[in-house]
Subunit: 221 residues, 2 copies
DNA sequence: ATAAATTTTTAGACAAGTCTAAAAATTTAT
DNA sequence: ATAAATTTTTAGACTTGTCTAAAAATTTAT
């Protein structure tokens, strides 16, 4: 079994591995966890001893198969709880993260499997992130950042990259929610801002926003 | 805020206070928590500093108003989660305790209040124990141990004293569940065993069982 | 009232997880 | 190739919560 702290380190390494095929550096982990590099060094030893990561000096860490499965299970729990909070307890998508951070560490396989069933085996969490299955596998969907779409292209809004409550509340205010169809009306050269059509509404959004919204390619006419 | 460990101490003191009007001794706490008296002494200092208990040397501890409210809130969470597990996730009443021990420490008032609403504001947990309200108050119901009923008296089975999974599974096997009507057919003098009618069925149960089952007085004809 | 038994506290140690400050190793720049 | 900058590790300390063993205080028995 793993401690809460070990689980958080594993989850962090898991998330960092998505963006790279390199080993994950001590500093990268420290930064993500808002802790000190010296603390990470200590934990790397513990996790190596437990065979969940492999560490090559100065080359960073990699999750072993066991480590990946363990981390994926924490992520699975996190995302299932987020679905529960939104679907059953009327939380909004910007309120769920902190509570899920706690709930993800509850240990009971019956609990999580029954919860999965109770929720109807959801495939994605409220932010559009995929939910790993019992074995830690997740089906990746073809998604693109809104910023990569060209003029007149359209697609369905399926996720966010940044899921901070500030960003999510901003999207709420603009009326941008998952499932909505977005069409690029205009791309401004000088600041890369976009003029888009979402539902019936025309909106102007900055490049920063466009780089945090995921779109499912959609053969729009 | 209180740590997980502090919450467990408070909850223990809360439960022990039900049975007595004396202060709760260091040893009593140690026994209930399966820890050592010296550890309890340390924690008593911390909890006193935090103004949740009052300690009179060699006279034991008492919860302050704040301590009582804090402890009751942990119990409230424990029991609401137990209801959730049984009602929504198909746990049986003997499987819920250990998971609830973990869930009771999740910190989010929105979570617990929404859960309460989602469950339809239940008043009792799956073992018949009352659920404290937001302010820590609970309505006590008039209940008696089955062992105290006389011949021909009857009542409704509303709770258990011992909620170990062994005892609960035993009750399941005998077909004794909360809400059922029980009538005393016979009381044996020599071993205090009972012959009872539960539903349509006649059963013989030992005094030990009768001392762990709560009955709601019922003006049986 | 004194002795015996019990309860509680103290003293010192340990494990987990974290921190700061300094040293060592590695990588990058000149 | 050497120096500079960066990354990582070590050393030592601290906190929380726990433990054992011994000392001290209190209660109970004679
Ligand atoms: Mn976490
Ligand atoms: Mn999420
Ligand atoms: Mn607990
Ligand atoms: Mn219960």
């Amino acid at each position: 079994m793993f401690t809460l702290s070990e689980e958080n380190y594993l989850k962090t390494i898991y998330h960092l591995e998505v963006d790279t095929d390199q080993g994950i550096s001590t500093n990268a982990i420290a930064k993500k966890l808002a802790t000190k590099a010296s603390s990470v060094t200590d934990m790397i030893k513990k996790l190596s001893d437990k065979k969940v990561i492999v560490y090559k000096k100065y080359k960073g860490v990699t999750l072993t198969e066991l480590g990946n499965k363990t981390a994926a299970n924490v992520v699975r729990k996190h995302r299932l709880w987020e679905v529960f909070l939104v679907e059953k307890l009327n939380f909004s998508w910007d309120e769920v993260h902190d509570v899920a951070e706690q709930l993800e560490h509850i240990k009971s396989s019956k609990l999580i499997n029954q919860l999965d069933a109770f929720l109807g085996f959801p495939t994605h969490d409220p932010h559009g992130d995929p939910i790993p299955d019992k074995d830690g596998n997740l089906k990746t969907i073809e998604k693109r950042l809104l910023a990569t779409l060209s003029k007149n292209e359209s697609g369905i809004c399926i996720g966010v990259d940044d899921s901070s409550s500030e960003f999510l509340q901003f999207l709420d205010k603009k009326g941008i929610t998952l499932g909505k169809k977005i069409t690029i009306l205009e791309k401004e050269e000088f600041d890369n801002s976009l003029s888009i059509l979402i539902g019936e509404k025309k909106l102007s959004i900055s490049n920063k926003i466009a780089n945090n919204l995921y779109i499912k390619a959609h053969n729009g006419h």
